[in-house]
């Protein structure tokens, strides 16, 4: 399931995750060696290239749309056949020199332009949610793990409570009750609100074992404050865990945004988003399959790329740590 963060939880529980590994306190492996190992992996490189293309697409959306000649909100009635209920003229959903990826049936909006602008929305939301989740997860995980006692109890109870929630249904309920303004911001907030415990739990566990180690004791003995210990001694040792967990979180959030938009509680039309495009293609799937196949393929490849990347980075981090 691309929706819930449970997949991360599973990965964390398998014991393969660096969370359970006390060896992760050893010095981080040299960056250059990891990069070289990564570049040798052709699948990983292909995935990175695709992710970069999508990011580039998102950044240069206005330029690309100028090149193709049609904006994401422009109707082109000449590209659809009004006698057939608005099915696009021409093969494969109206693909051709005029509309590169064809047009939407009914109103004739350019699919290329909507894909490009949709990439903006998807990436913005997924990356912002990842950032916010990471900050929340690291802060609360560190607090709970380092200070223990009452702080830990409160944070842990809140985490348990949030993880016991059926996140998707609850997100839908909250979003459907909220007003439609500022949807993108709301999506980020709601996704992060339910997402942070999964990272915080692992950070907490690692912090708890790290703070018992000699170097923390040494820092304490030499008079370091709690803040210094947390930021200078513990946080650097958590870096690989945090990187792995965040990379694994991105595909989940891309999927969640698309799913929520698919259900009509995400990004509000006419702003394009891939999930929403797929949702509007449902009534047309039999007569105009290109309409769902194009955004579907873009979305699937993006989630797949991030998943593969997260997987590979995790393996690299583990092998690097063991070797180092």
């Amino acid at each position: 399931m691309t929706f819930t963060p449970t997949e991360l939880e599973v990965e964390g529980v398998t014991g393969g995750g660096p969370g359970s590994d006390p060896a992760s306190a050893s010095p981080p492996p040299s960056g250059r060696r990891l990069v070289r190992a990564f570049l040798r992996d052709r699948v990983a490189v292909a995935c990175s290239v695709y992710v970069l293309i999508v990011i580039l697409m998102a950044f240069t959306a206005p330029l690309l749309v100028k090149l193709s000649g049609w904006g994401p909100l422009e109707f082109d009635q000449s590209a659809v056949d009004p006698n057939l209920g608005g099915i696009p003229l021409g093969p494969a959903g109206g693909m051709g020199a005029e509309h590169w990826f064809g047009v939407e049936p009914g109103n004739g909006r350019d699919i290329f332009a909507r894909i490009v602008y949709g990439a903006r929305v998807s990436m913005t939301i997924a990356l912002s949610a990842t950032l916010l989740t990471s900050v929340l997860g690291v802060v609360f995980g560190l607090l709970a793990g380092y200070f223990g006692g009452r702080v830990d109890m409160v944070v842990s109870r809140v985490m348990e409570f949030l993880m016991a929630f059926p996140a998707l249904i609850f997100m839908i309920a909250v979003l459907s009750a909220l007003p439609a303004e500022n949807r993108q911001l709301l999506l980020v907030v709601v996704i992060s609100f339910f997402g942070w415990p999964y990272l915080a739990r692992i950070v907490r566990g690692q912090t708890m074992s790290l703070k018992e180690r000699e170097f923390v004791e040494a820092a304490k003995a030499s008079g370091a404050t709690s803040a210094q210990i947390i930021f200078k001694e513990i946080l650097p040792n958590l870096a690989s865990t945090i990187i792995v967990m965040t990379t694994l979180a991105v595909p989940g959030y891309v999927g969640t945004e698309a799913g929520l938009s698919f259900l009509g509680v995400g990004v509000v039309p006419p702003t394009p988003s891939w999930g929403q495009m797929i949702a509007s293609s449902v009534p047309w799937y039999a007569v105009d399959p290109a309409y769902f196949l194009i955004p579907g393929a873009f979305l699937f490849l993006l989630v797949l790329s991030f998943t593969v990347l997260g997987d590979r980075i995790r393996k690299l981090a583990e092998s690097g740590e063991v070797a180092a």
């Binding site: 059926p166 609850f170 839908i172 909250v174 698919f262 799937y285």
Partner: protein, 332 residues
């Protein structure tokens, strides 16, 4: 053991109470005034006040929440006099748009959702464990890498994209499956099976992928344990080692996440049921979102939360029963 049980039960009640409170609060604060919906067009402020008074919407938050909670256990009535509507015991609310109690609406759609959920669960459990075992046995070989590729694909494909693709491929292009329409199992079992086949696959695929990876990792890890080496050293046959020493510890975690995933299925069913037009609880929720029928959304949310919380609890109990390493009391 009894103390553990009581503790868990109390914890569950607290979480359920908080879930109710949280859900109620969100809808209390955020949702538009239901009185405006009931009143319709040409509404006067007096009429709205009247509806507020009738439904108790003018009361303070805690009173309304109390009424809602007691409605869950003993039922409640909406309105007064001739317009009085009775809502029997587990009263999750009343949909003024469809003039039905939310509980009734959910119960009517339960069979379809249960069929989808159980079928999908059986499918993903079988596929996941089988796939994981094959991968573990053939570790590093072609079959392992092939399955690894499949699981990554399965984890990444959004279920509505898969649903539309399958429907396009199997129903429209190849015409292997008939177009889904409602039939009862008794009349046409073949058609019934064909109807549910695609929803089962779509709902199961993500979980099947995760279970495959989990099973593989667990089995490989277990086979490296000292007691497995001991068993090998004392000359036990490989089959016996697999059955007695490897599978049981390797599959225990599967039970844990299976309970939680099954309880959390309602979320996935939302999309699957909508795409395939199956009239289950998920579709009910999705339709209510489009119609902005808040009581129904709230009812389904509570039901989903209830299932997850109870699922977690059952899993915890099962876990202590299955895995002798988990000692009661040390389950932090």
């Amino acid at each position: 053991m009894i103390r553990f049980l009581v503790n868990r039960l109390l914890g569950m009640v607290v979480v359920l109470f908080l879930v109710c409170l949280f859900t109620f609060l969100i809808f209390f604060v955020l949702s538009p005034d239901p009185a405006v919906q009931i009143c319709g067009k040409n509404c006067t402020p007096e009429a709205i006040d009247q509806i507020h008074a009738n439904l108790g919407l003018d009361r303070p938050f805690w009173t309304q929440f109390g009424t809602f909670l007691s409605g869950l256990f003993v039922g409640r009535t909406y309105g007064t006099g001739a317009n009085m509507i009775d809502c029997a015991a587990p009263c999750l609310g009343y949909s003024f748009q469809t003039s039905q109690s939310v509980t009734d609406m959910i119960v009517q759609r339960l069979p379809v959702s249960a069929t989808v959920a159980i079928g999908a669960a059986v499918l993903w459990l079988l596929a996941g464990v089988a796939g994981g075992l094959i991968s573990a046995v053939r570790e590093g070989k072609f079959a392992d890498r092939f399955i690894a590729g499949l699981t990554l694909t399965g984890m990444s494909i959004p279920n509505y994209v898969l649903a539309l693709s399958l429907q396009f491929l199997l129903v429209v292009t190849l015409q292997w499956l008939p177009f889904p329409h409602a039939v009862s199992f008794m009349e046409e079992p073949g058609q019934w099976f064909a109807n549910f086949l695609m929803p089962w696959i779509v709902l199961a695929i993500g979980a099947a992928a995760v279970y495959t990876r989990l099973t593989r990792a667990n089995v490989i890890e277990t086979l490296q344990e000292n007691y497995v080496r001991t068993a090998r050293a004392k000359g036990l046959s490989p089959g016996l080692i697999w059955r007695r020493h490897a599978l049981r510890p390797a599959l225990t975690p599967i039970v844990t996440i299976f309970g939680m995933d099954f309880a959390g299925l309602l979320g996935g069913a939302l999309i699957t049921e909508t795409v395939f037009g199956l009239n289950g609880i998920g579709k009910l929720a999705a339709d209510s979102i489009t119609k902005n029928d808040q009581p129904v959304i709230m009812g389904v949310t509570l039901l989903a939360a209830f299932l997850v919380v109870v699922g977690n609890m059952v899993v915890d109990l099962l876990y202590t029963a299955i895995d002798p390493r988990v000692r009661v009391g040390s389950t932090a």
